[in-house]
């Protein structure tokens, strides 16, 4: 695409053209080419569909599109055919031709290959992932046709920055990166800060191991993130944004690079956006394998090219962030909600979810679940609904044991807490956190002591080393775990674990240390008998522990 200067009305025109263009097609085959499906052969499947459509002579009425992830990653490669959202699972190049022949040519969906699990989508509410699996993330026109960039047009044409912040505040949106800070309030703080220039940092570090929600969003709908950044920039008066992404996500990086280039080419980013004089540009910055870099002061250090060590607050980034200037740090999922709020109004958004936690949340559902994948649910849904209705329960006839919410610094919650509504405050109350959106299901083959040890090891590796509790404390906890899982522990060790855990939680400088003991403290709270069993009877009911030693001997 050549660089062209468009104005506000042109976006609407592109949308109309694109819709007309799409209307010419009777069918649209969406092949998921996201990171989950590519290793399973999605690109070959895509090619097979393109060939089949040509060979069977239906290319005029059937469009084959390369899309992002519809969420059912465990049964990939996944292919969705519109209209009707028929989702095919485990598609192979051989099956592609059959699907085109039956579904497109004859109009008969191939029942045996369809994804049968209706419950998976039934309880979901896909707002942030509205376009995921339906548009080609590499074509900005696809996004615009779905109403994309109409929100920034609305802001530029009819709203003041204060008006935008007011809508966001009304919506009740809270940060999706973990802490749940009210987004509108944060924007207000940065907007009111005096010094200039101001910056935006979009956080796509997603360091929680076992979470892929942000990556999937970026691969499926990169422009939603960019539009969110644009609106935020307009509201707070920023001219420059950095999108910080982990380097472990090559496909997401490519997708975003392309999206940024396309947005620049039609003057949606740059010095004179849509001929309104509004100026904003986005630059990518790459992480390098440090979980703590996702912490808000550490991410600033990292963008500035330094060691990602969290620093004390105050000063808060809203007043003194990048290079000492006011900076808005926002998770990319938070940002992707923004265009919807502007289009439909804050009041509309505030009615979704619960009164204190509005909207939806994306979760990656993994572990011992029948339907692993990426889901988006309204806030306030119960854990049981997520694990059993959407996730389909535990496979292989095993028994549910616990669910891990919030990544390595989350909590392990037992079956008695399954009725708990998923929202920031309820989770915090039981010792877990929302985190950036990981739900891992454990069955009776998982050992809770081993699980807590695993998370502690992760935090030991990822501690930045600045403060005593986290650096010098977690390692001692890990050693005690080594003792417990190798048959070399005393009952008093449990007290030491508890004491040290509480100390690290209360005394650490940043969120990593403050939440790192959560897995230890929650397992001690809900599964103490397993600890005692390990220590007193040297028995692991899951059969995981007491192994390493024998092997080494």
């Amino acid at each position: 695409m050549e660089a062209t200067s468009l104005n506000l009305a042109d976006i609407q025109k592109i949308a109309e053209q694109e819709v007309d263009f799409e209307r010419a097609y009777k069918y649209r085959i969406n092949v998921c080419c996201s990171s989950g499906c590519v290793p399973l052969g999605a690109l070959k499947v895509l090619k097979a569909f393109e060939d089949a459509v040509k060979e069977l002579g239906v290319e005029k009425e059937c469009k084959v599109a390369r899309t992002g992830c519809p969420g059912t990653c465990a049964v990939g490669p996944a292919v969705m055919i519109e209209p009707g959202d028929y989702l095919y699972q485990n598609v192979t190049p051989e099956k592609a031709r059959e699907i085109v022949r039956d579904h497109v040519v004859l109009g008969l969906p191939v029942k045996e290959m369809l994804y049968k699990n209706e419950a998976f989508y039934k309880k979901q509410q896909r707002l942030v992932l509205r376009n995921a699996g339906k548009i080609d993330p590499q074509r900005i026109q696809d996004y615009i046709a779905m109403g994309g960039y109409s929100a920034i047009v609305k802001c530029l044409a009819t709203m003041t920055p204060q008006g935008v912040i007011y809508e966001v505040s009304t919506s009740g949106l809270r940060g999706r990166g973990g802490a749940g800070f009210p987004t509108g309030q944060k924007w207000g703080l940065v907007a009111r800060a005096h010094s200039k220039p101001k910056y935006i940092v979009a956080n796509l570090d997603e360091g929680d191991p076992g979470v892929f929600a942000n990556r999937t969003l970026a691969e499926a709908d990169p422009h939603a993130i960019l539009e969110g950044m644009l609106i935020a920039a307009y509201a707070i008066g920023a001219e420059k944004g950095y999108l910080y992404i982990r380097s472990e996500y090559p496909l997401a990086i490519q997708t975003l690079q392309k999206a940024i280039a396309q947005a620049r080419s039609i003057s949606l980013l740059g010095d004179n956006i849509l001929e309104t004089g509004f100026k904003f540009d986005v630059e990518l910055r790459f992480g390098a394998g440090a979980f703590v870099a996702g912490e808000e002061t550490a991410i600033l250090a990292s963008v500035e090219g330094r060691r990602a060590m969290p620093r004390p607050r105050p000063p808060y980034p809203a007043n003194s962030g990048l290079w000492g200037k006011p900076t808005l740090i926002q998770n990319v999922e938070t940002l992707a909600n923004i265009p919807l709020i502007i289009q439909n109004g804050g009041v509309w958004f505030s009615k979704i979810g619960t009164p204190r936690c509005t909207g939806t949340k994306c979760f990656s559902l993994t572990g011992k679940t029948k339907n692993p994948g990426l889901i988006e649910v309204p806030m306030g849904i119960t854990l049981r609904e997520v694990v059993f209705d959407i996730g389909g329960g535990v496979p292989e006839g095993r028994k549910f044991k616990a669910v891990l919410v919030g990544g390595p610094s989350g909590g392990c919650l037992p079956d008695t807490l399954l009725e708990l509504p998923v929202d920031y405050d309820s989770l915090t109350r039981v010792g877990a956190i929302m985190g950036s959106g990981g739900i891992v299901v454990l069955d009776d083959k998982s050992c809770m002591v081993d699980t807590a040890k695993f998370f502690t090891e992760f935090c030991v590796d990822e501690s930045c080393g600045r403060c005593t509790p986290c650096r010098a404390g977690l390692i001692r906890i890990k050693e005690i775990f080594d003792g417990i899982t190798q048959g070399d522990a005393r009952v008093e060790d449990i007290t030491t674990l508890e004491k040290a855990g509480v100390y690290i939680r209360d005394a650490s400088l940043c969120g990593l240390g403050q939440t790192a003991p959560n897995p230890v403290l929650t397992t001690l709270r809900y599964f103490k008998d397993e600890y005692l069993e390990h220590i007193q009877d040297k028995k692991c009911r899951a059969g995981k522990c007491f192994k390493n030693k024998e092997e080494e001997v």
Partner: protein, 163 residues
């Protein structure tokens, strides 16, 4: 022009693009690793001087982030994901099998430099856990047998020296 000069030129170009700004250190380390495969001390000193940064600062940054490699990696690199989802699905057992088969520990290379075994924390393929990457190719829903077979294939018959 020798390969060395060409690489140096490519690095210089990247630094110039960033106006030799201090804040571009991470981008430049990324680029340097892309060009050279790993970051040795000579290279780090070169970068420090070009960006007018204290050498200890550059070394501090390069070693803080685990993505940067300061040693030459093996010819073939196996990376096991030790993220939560993969751990729950038993990646540890696969890793142990590799360790045993090739007498190599996580984070190390065989003495002849043929094979490196690395760990990472989540590559975002959690729904298809466990995930193991053998030379840029990801094996989803990996099992011991498949992984060991694959490693054998990439090594092409010659078994690396063990200690």
């Amino acid at each position: 022009m020798s390969t060395d000069d060409k690489r140096r030129l490519a690095l210089e170009k990247s630094m110039k693009e960033h106006n030799y700004e201090e804040s571009a250190l991470l981008e430049i380390l990324h680029r340097a690793q892309e060009i050279y495969g790993y970051l040795d001390k000579e290279l780090l000193m070169d970068i420090a001087q070009s960006l007018h940064l204290p050498p200890s600062h550059v070394f501090g940054v390069a070693t803080f982030y685990s993505y940067f490699k300061l040693k030459r990696p093996g010819q073939h690199v196996i990376t096991g994901c030790l993220g939560t989802a993969c751990y729950v699905k038993g990646v540890d057992e696969i890793m142990r099998a590799i360790e045993k088969e090739y007498n190599i520990k996580r984070g190390e290379s065989t003495p002849d430099g043929k094979l490196s075994l690395l760990v990472t924390r989540c590559i975002g393929a959690c729904a298809m856990a466990p995930a193991i990457v053998v030379d840029d190719e990801m094996i989803a829903k990996a099992t011991k047998e498949v992984v060991l077979q694959k490693i054998k294939e990439v090594l092409g018959g010659d078994k690396p020296e063990s200690r």
